[in-house]
Amino acid sequence: MTDAGPTNDDLIGVRDLHVRYGEREVLHGIGFDVRRNETLVILGGSGSGKSTLLRALVGLEKPSGGEIWVKGRNIAEIPAAEMDEIRKKLGMSFQGGALFGSMSVGENVALPLREHTRLEDSTIEIIVRLKLEQVGLAGFEDYMPSQLSGGMKKRAAVARAMAMDPEMLFFDEPSAGLDPIIAAGIDNLILKLKKAFRITIVVVTHELASAFLIADRMVLIDKGNIIAIGTPEELRRSAHPRVRQFLDRMPEPEVYEELDYLQMLTEEHRPRRR
């Protein structure tokens, strides 16, 4: 391994990561490590680039610069076949669940096992029941995703992500769109998985309460840059103004200079680039 790669304790290492959509750069040189068996929460506001970062970590977004080391391989450069080998060791739970609508919940969970293993159908059936039981959905094998509530969909998605016994589990906004009680249930599920399995968890969220509850360490992202990294305690003590603003839930100041305000109203319309 080259010097740039992470050490043995680190499962994932990000080095000077840049990601751009067209002409707009979303991440401006991000670097951090994820240690083996820790739960890392990536915290940030809407449009901060945190979801893009997660997509880059699982290889859905090609970096425009920098390195992403996962299990000792730089996934920014490896061919698709090797990426697929790494992907078999990771599970991802998407924001809306992303369950396949044409398959039952059980078939969804069974899919990676059917495709990537040579297990007997009866064995797969047992694993599916086990995984669904672990996320609190025992007995829901034959339901279609459209028959499940939002919280149940997310639990089913976690069960599917866990199907291959991954080393790494990624969550995109696990509590988005859920009421506080269901969201707390998902937090508990993550805590339970963390305790029960030796597994590395990366969670992207903007929910402060849930972040402080589940995190071993946190990364705070603002406008495509990391502004703080450390344990929840260290973040609470931080004096960085943007960190304080985020943690104390202060809105953006709305002070306009009069002249700027006038100019904003009168200037010619410029189409916004995406």
Binding site: R55, V58, G59, L60, M83, D84, E85, R87, K88, L90, G91, M92, F94, Q95, G96, A98, L99, F100, G101, L111, P112, E115, H116
Partner: protein
């Protein structure tokens, strides 16, 4: 002036890029269909059969009705001209040849575009919007292999089958006119149709239908994959899939008809 050339250039580049995208989807689907199985990437027969049912068998009622009517229309239009020459008994050959060589494959393609090409785009587009395509990728499953290959194989097999059926229904439609107004008996009309046909008439139609099947699958799936974010984008790509498919099917038809004509001339 510069503006105009720039616009033409951009449109040309856009068109070429689109064709490139189609070719990529088509090539990968063909790879997973014909070469993949020999490299340990098993075909999903269950999915292929499921798609073949949706694309082929379920299209039979509407396709039968449409091509039957087309057969009647062809007979009426042909008879209008043939009657002047007192050659009304040639109506059976006119219907049989134009059905098998042209209208059978083409009408089948149009019906399949409306039923299945649009459905491919809508299905894959919705999966794109709901992150299901991303989910497939993070599970180390190739979206083209998983979603497109079964459709591709089903279309390549089912379109010639549907076309054969359409040819038959067209001839039956023609026989309605033939028996009622041109003095044929039913069996006489059928044997007159058979006499008029060469095997080549049928095979060229079937070759075209295979090409149509590939075109429709590639366009439908490519439009699905290029769906942007949001539900209205699914609608856009579905519409585009239908319009572009019809256009490209006509282009492919033109190319192959010309090819067969000049090949037949020698």
């Amino acid at each position: 002036m510069v503006e105009v050339t720039a616009r033409v250039g951009r449109a040309t580049l856009g068109g070429l890029a689109y064709l490139g995208g189609l070719a990529r989807v088509g090539r990968r689907a063909a790879y997973f269909t014909f070469i993949g199985p020999f490299k340990g990437r098993a075909l999903r027969w269950q999915r292929v059969v499921h798609q073949a049912m949706a694309v082929g068998v379920e299209a039979l009622p509407i396709l039968s009705l449409i091509t039957f009517f087309i057969g009647v229309i062809l007979a009426l239009q042909g008879a209008y001209e043939l009657r002047k020459f007192g050659a009304l008994h040639y109506v059976s050959s006119a219907v049989a040849i134009s059905m098998t060589r042209e209208l059978g494959p083409l009408m089948t393609a149009i019906v399949v575009i409306g039923r299945s090409g649009s459905a491919f785009a809508a299905e894959i587009g919705t999966m794109k919007v709901t992150e299901e395509i991303d989910a497939l990728q993070t599970m180390a499953l190739d979206p083209v292999q998983f979603l497109v290959t079964p459709k591709f194989l089903a279309m390549v097999v089912m379109l010639p089958c549907l076309t054969t059926w359409a040819d038959l229904m067209g001839v039956l439609g023609g026989s309605l006119f033939g028996v009622s107004s041109a003095g044929f008996t039913f069996m006489g009309y059928l044997s007159a149709s058979l006499d008029a046909l060469f095997l080549r008439d049928i095979t060229t139609g079937l070759v075209k239908s295979v090409m149509f099947g590939m075109t429709i699958t590639a366009v439908g799936c490519y439009e699905g994959f290029s769906t942007g974010a949001g539900a209205e984008e699914v609608g856009r790509s579905t519409t585009a899939a239908v319009v572009v498919s019809i256009f490209l099917v006509i282009v492919v038809d033109l190319v192959f008809t010309a090819l067969f004509y000049f090949m037949g001339a020698h």
